[in-house]
Amino acid sequence: MDDYLVYLWAFLAGGALCAIGQLLIDLTSMTPARILVTYVVSGVLLGAVGVYEPFAEFAGAGATVPLTGFGHALAKGVREAVERDGLIGCLTGGLEACAGGITAAVLSGLLAALIFTRGDKTAKLTG
């Protein structure tokens, strides 16, 4: 694949996944939390049936950065762990695969709470 094409596909695939999310927000009464849950579970499902892997190879970060990619990583982790360790892999594989992202998010939250002063949401409306 040409160098720049990776970026183009990442943009198109990632953009499309977000656009679908926006359609769900605007056309249904789904709350953002429900949309995120739907995305993660869909990612697990698509990963399980083997559709997401080829899509991710093709779209790169366009497939892995959206939350469906998070679901896909969970499914992939569980599959590898089950193949390696048997049934216990059901419980260990998911978090193993996503440990980096989740722990990074928790630590960032803690650090941010230590460092930042709270924002002023009203500021953006008037400035």
């Binding site: 990776v6 970026y7 990442a10 943009f11 695939a13 990632g14 953009g15 499309a16 996944l17 977000c18 656009a19 999310g21 926006q22 359609l23 769900l24 927000i25 605007d26 953002p32 939390a33 995120l36 993660v40 579970v41 697990v44 499902l45 399980a48 790169g60 970060a61 366009g62 892995t64 950065v65 959206p66 939350l67 998070f70 679901g71 969970l74 499914a75 569980v78 193949e83 049934l87 892999g89 059901c90 419980l91 594989g93 998911g94 996503c98 980096g100 992202g101 990074a104 998010a105 928790v106 960032s108 939250g109 650090l111 941010a112 709470a113 930042f116 709270r118 949401k121 500021a123 953006k124």
Partner: protein, 150 residues
Amino acid sequence: MKLTKNEYGRLAKLRSPNSKIYRNVPMAFLVGGLICVVGQVLTELYKAAGAEEELAGTLTSVSLVALSAVLTGMGLYSRLAKYAGAGTLVPITGFANAVVSPALEFRTEGYVPGVGAKIFTIAGPVIVYGLAASAVYGVILFIAQMSGAV
């Protein structure tokens, strides 16, 4: 009141302006796409620096999470989200924002009952149902392997 609840519901719907889909969807596409491009750039950089595919992916996630945390702390992520909608919600940066923003907000109630307890108020369901779905998949996979179907 001359209207029934149903009739009033219809009238209320008629009078309620709809979301501007023609503006929201392209914005979500643009911003969400660009965040993924940033992810791709980071992945390529980590790979060029010698990281393997999987490690590069993890490093990318961690970097995006950190970037989102900084933007959230500065109050910039919510400003972008006002225009981008799902474009900032769906990428992993949105997940990070959902973790960091309650941590910041509830600091006034202390680090344990505030930050610690509230940090997953928004993002918790994602982890709960993601893990549950993956565990179910694992069990099915295991049974399939045992029975020799795979």
